[in-house]
Point group: D2
C-alpha cells in the first residue's frame, strides 16, 4: 500500500489548514495534492514545505488538478453543496466537514444527486463517531448488556463563543454534534424537539440565549436532553450519560493527571475541541483514507448529514416558538438502507 492517495483540500482556514497538516504529517497513506481557497495566500501558507501540491482560488480547479483522487471539504458551510456536486460529477470520494449543507433543502439536493449516481461517495465529518470514548459507549449499547436505552443526558460546553455566534447556532452548530451522536448511539431517528431557555449567563454576549436546554424525542421513545452552554467560561466539556433498562454508562469525565496541592485535588479540563477530539479527527481522517483507498465509504453519509440538518432546523424553530416542533424527514432512500 505505498502509493499515496492524492487529496484536494477545499478551504484553508483553521480547520482546512489543520486537515492539510494531518494529511501531510499524521495520517498514513495520503498526501495533499491540491488546495483551494479564495485567499490563495492563506492556501499557499497552509501547504508551505509540501512537495507536488497545487494552489487554487477555485474549488473546481483543485478538483481537476493533477494527482487528485479524493476531496476533503473544509470550506464554509454555504460552499459545501456546490463542492459536493462538483466532486460527484467527477466521481471523487469526499470527506465533507459538518454541516453537510446548512439547510436541509440543500442536503436533500445533494442526497438526490448521490442517489442518481447510484453509489455512495460522501462521508460527513461527524468525528465523534471516531472518538475512543464514544466508540466504547456505542459498543456497550450495541452489545445489549445494559438493555434498551431510555434517556441520554448530554452536556456540551465551550469556554466562549466566537464573535457573531447567534442563539440559533447553539442548536444548529453546537448541538448538531449531539444530534448525530444521539442518532448513531441509539440507532433511531429524532422525531421532535423542544428548547428551554434558562436565564442567560451574564458572561454571554448581549442578546445571546445561552445556555439552552434542548430536548429530543426519538422514534423508539427515548428522551435525549442536551445542556448547551457556549460561554460557560470554565472549559470544553462534552459528556454523555446513557440511562438504560439495566444500567447506565457515562463518558466525558476523563481523568488522566490528578494533581494535589494545598488547593486540593485537581484535574485539568480541556479548553478546546481540537484538544479534546484531536485523536478523533486523526482517526476519522485515517479511516476515510483507508476506506477510500479500498474503494469504500464506511462513515456517516449523506443521509446522516441530511437528517442532522432537518433536526437542527426543527430545533431552531423550537427555540423561536418556545414549543415542541416535530421533525419531518423524507423517506430514506435504499442507497442508505
Amino acid at each position: 500500500m505505498s502509493d499515496l492517495l492524492g487529496v484536494a483540500v477545499l478551504g484553508a482556514g483553521h480547520m482546512g489548514a489543520d486537515h492539510v497538516r494531518r494529511l501531510d504529517r499524521v495520517v498514513s497513506g495520503a498526501r495533499v495534492a491540491a488546495v483551494a481557497d479564495p485567499d490563495t495566500g492563506r492556501a499557499a501558507e497552509a501547504v508551505a514545505g509540501i512537495d507536488d501540491v497545487s494552489v487554487h482560488a477555485e474549488a473546481a480547479a483543485a478538483l481537476d488538478a493533477p494527482g487528485v483522487e479524493a476531496v476533503l471539504i473544509a470550506s464554509p458551510g454555504p460552499a459545501h453543496e456546490e463542492a459536493l456536486l462538483e466532486a460527484f460529477a467527477r466521481g471523487l470520494p469526499v470527506l465533507c466537514e459538518k454541516p453537510l449543507v446548512p439547510e436541509s433543502a440543500g442536503a436533500l439536493r445533494v442526497m438526490e444527486a448521490e442517489v442518481r449516481l447510484g453509489r455512495r461517495l460522501a462521508q460527513v465529518g461527524f468525528m465523534r463517531r471516531y472518538d475512543a470514548e464514544y466508540l466504547r459507549l456505542k459498543s456497550l449499547l450495541d452489545g445489549g448488556r445494559l438493555g434498551r436505552p431510555l434517556m441520554l443526558h448530554c452536556t456540551h460546553r465551550n469556554v466562549s463563543s466566537p464573535p457573531d455566534f447567534t442563539s440559533a447556532m447553539l442548536v444548529n452548530s453546537s448541538v448538531s454534534h449531539e444530534i448525530d451522536a444521539a442518532r448513531w448511539l441509539l440507532g433511531q431517528e429524532l422525531t421532535a424537539v423542544t428548547v428551554l431557555r434558562p436565564r442567560s449567563s451574564s458572561s454571554a454576549p448581549e442578546g445571546l440565549i445561552d445556555p439552552q436546554f434542548v430536548l429530543f424525542e426519538t422514534a423508539g421513545g427515548a428522551l435525549v436532553d442536551v445542556e448547551v452552554f457556549v460561554n460557560c467560561g470554565f472549559g470544553y466539556q462534552v459528556a454523555c450519560e446513557a440511562v438504560c433498562e439495566a444500567g447506565s454508562a457515562r463518558i466525558g469525565d476523563e481523568r488522566s493527571l490528578a494533581v494535589t496541592t494545598v488547593d486540593g485535588r485537581h484535574e485539568e479540563v480541556a479548553r478546546d475541541y481540537l484538544v479534546r477530539f484531536a485523536d478523533a479527527y486523526d482517526r476519522e481522517v485515517q479511516a476515510w483514507v483507508d476506506a477510500t483507498r479500498a474503494g469504500r465509504v464506511t462513515g456517516p453519509g449523506v443521509w446522516d448529514g441530511y437528517a442532522a440538518s432537518a433536526v437542527a432546523e426543527a430545533g431552531v424553530r423550537a427555540l423561536e416558538s418556545g414549543g415542541r416542533v416535530a421533525v419531518e424527514l423524507v423517506p430514506r432512500p435504499d442507497l442508505y438502507a
Copy 2:
C-alpha cells in the same frame, strides 16, 4: 445538658421504628417517652428494651403521656394534619416526616394554625438539608464563588418501587426531595413544572410511567431538571450538578472503596436511601433535638412543607396533561419571612 428531651414518636412502621432506635441509641440528649401506632403490638416491639416509655394506639394519647416534651411524626401522610394540629394545641415542638401534609390545602390549614399560634413549632423532615454533600454544595453556592446558578441537573434513582407505587408518586413522593432541595439550594421558589415521559422501562410494573423527566422553572429564571427512575434496578443514586455562571459543582458520585479485579475497577453503589442518607437522618434528628432543647426551630418549616406540596400537585397535573403547569402559592406569611 443532662436531662433528656422526652419525645413521642407517632407511627411505628419502618421509618418510625428507625427513629425510635435513633432517639434511643444514636442521638444525644433525647429519649423516647411514648410511642403510638394503631398496631400497638408493632409499637411495643419498636420500644422493646427501652425504659419509661408508654405505648398508645392513639396519637393524642401519646402526646398527653407523662414526660412528653416534643413529637416526631412518622405516621402515614394522611394522619399528619391532625397530628400536627394536636401538637400545636399542646404547644409541643414537632419534627414531621415529609410530606408535611399530602395535599397543599391541608398544608395551608396547618400553616394557618401555626400562624395563629404566632410562633413556629414544626420542622419538616427534608433530611437532605443535613446531608454532608448537600451542605457543602449549599455552602459553595451561597459563597458566591461560582456566580449565579443557571441550572440544576438532578438524578433520583431507586432500585425498585414498592407495591402500589403510582405514576403520580414519582412526582409527589420521590421528586418531593428534589423540590425541597432545589428551593433550598437556590433560595428561590419553583414557578412552573413540565413532566416528560420517555418510554417506560420494561422493568417497571405494568402501567407505571417510569422513568419520568421533570422540568422546573424558578422565580430567578433557573432551570431544574430531574430524572426520576424508581425501577432502575441498579442502585439508589441521588446526584445533583449545579451549573453556574462561573463553574459547576456536582455531588452524588461518592467513591470510597475502589476494588480492582479481573472484572475491572469497581465501586459500590448504595442500594437504599437509609444507607445513603443514614448520616443525614442522624444529623437531622440531632439538630432538631438540640434546637428543641434550646427552644428554637431551625430547620425547614411549614412554609417549606406547603410549598413542596403545592409544587408536587402542579407536577402531578403536568404529568397528566403533558403540558407546562404554573405553580400558584399563597403569599408568604411574615412568620416565615
Copy 3:
C-alpha cells in the same frame, strides 16, 4: 436504656475537650460525670454548661467522683500507665487514647495488671477501626473474595507537624496508626521494620527527617509500606491500597463535591484528622459506650496497644540504624486469644 453512663474524662486538652463535647452532645447513652486536668481552669472550661460534673486536678480524684462508671483517658501519653492502673484498681472500664503507654515496657506492665485482674477492661483509641472506609476494606479482605493480601501500600500525610515533633515521632506517633491498621486488616503481627529516608522536604523544620518510607514485614509474609510525610503542605491524606492475590482495593480517595471552574476540575482534600476521621471518633466512642453499658469490651485492647508500642520502638531503632530491625513480642496471654 435511659440511664446514662457516667464517664470521667482525664485530660482537658484539644483531644480531651473534644471527647467531652462528644460524650455530652453527640453520643447517646453517656454523660460526663467528672473531668480531671492539672490545669483545672481548662478542665472547667471544657465542661462549662454541663450539669452534675465535677472538676479535678488529679486523675485519681476524678475516678472516685460520684457517678463515675467508666473512664476516658485523653491525658498525655506519659500519664497513661498510672491512670490505667488506677482504673483497673477500681474495676472501671477504660477507653484510652493511643498510645496505650509510650514505651512497650510500660504497656507490658499494664497488660500484666489486666491479666492478673483476669478480665479485660481497657480499649485503646485506634479509631481507624471505626472509620467507614477502613471497615469496608476490612470486611472485603475478611470475605476472601480478593484472596490473600500480599502488600499494603499506605500513605499518611499531614499539612505540617506540631512544634517539637521529632524524627522518631513520625514512626511512633504518626505511623502508629498504620501499625495498628495493618495488624488489624491483615490479622497478622508485624515482625520486622526498615525505615528509608528520602531527601527531606525543604518545608520540614531544620533537622526533621521528613518524609520517611517505612517498610514492615508480617508474620504471614506480607509487605506493608508506609509513606509518612508530616509537612507535605497540601492536606491530610490517609490512603491504603491492599494488593491481594485476586485483586486490589483502595481507600482514602473519597470524592464528594467536584467543582469545575476555569482552573479545572477540583476536589477538596481534608486538612485535619479531626475532619477526616470525625465520624470514626464518634463511632468509636458510641461503640465503647454501648459495649460498656452492656458489660463488654469489644474494641482493640491492651494486647493491641502493647504490640503497637513494640513495633513502633523497633521502627525508631530502624530509623536510627538505617537497617532492618526485628520485632520481639512476649507470648500472647490467653486473655487476648
Copy 4:
C-alpha cells in the same frame, strides 16, 4: 514531505509485525522497505500486501537492501548489539526496541562505537516517554510548580507472565520501563537498588518470586519504589505518583467509560500493554520518523539504554543478595551531555 522514509524492520515476531503494520498504515512519512527474520515465512507474512519490500533471513542483508534509509530493531535482545553495530557501520539511523543490549557491557560497546562515530544515530524504544499521561507528568515536574520531587510510587502489574519468565526478568525486563521513566521524570541517575520479596502469589508459577517491591535511590536523594506484579491476574496497570515538596501528582488511573449496573459502578482496566500504550507506540515511531527525515535524533539514546541496563543488573544482584546494591556507571561521554 512526500518521499517516504524507507525502513528496514529487523525481527518479525509480535512486536516486529506490529511495527511493520504501524509503519505501513498508521505513521505518516515512512514505508517498510525491507524486513528480516530467521523465519522468512513469518517475515513474508508480516509484509503481505505491502509493495516494494524485500524479505531477508539476515539482518545485514536487510540493511543493504534497496531503499533502506533507517532501521527499526525488533529482534530478540541478544541480537541487538550486532544489529546496532551493523547499522552504525552503514551510518543508518536506528530505533532499537528496549533493551538496547541485555548486558551493560554490550551496551557499553555500542556506546563506544557511537562515540567513535562522533554523532548520535540510535534511539531506544522507551515508549513511555511518548505516552500522553507521562508527558503531562514530566511537563508538570519540569515546570516546577510542585517543587522538588521526593518520592515516586510506581505500580507495574501484568495479568500473567509469559512462559519461562524468571524472577530476574521482573527487574530487568518489566521494571526496566520504570528505571527509564524514573531517570527521565526526575532528570537524575539511579544510584542504588534494593529488592524486597513479599510472599509470592499463589497465582505465580512455581518458583517465580512475584510480586517484588523494588526500591531505587537517586543521585538527588529521591526514593523510587516500584511494585512489580506480573501475575496479578486482574489487569495491566501502570501507575505513578510523584510526591513533591509542594504537592503530588498521579497518573495511571485513567477513567473513560463508567458503567453502573446492579453490581455497582464499574470501569474497565486495560489488559495488555499494546492496548494501554498503543498511542505511545504510534507517537514514538512517528516522532522517530519525523526526526530521522529531518536528520536528527531526539529521543532516548544509547546513554539511556546503557544506564537502564546497568541499573537493571544491579537490581538483579539486589534480588539475589537481599541487600542494597550500588549502581556503578562509567563517566558520561560528551556526546550525550
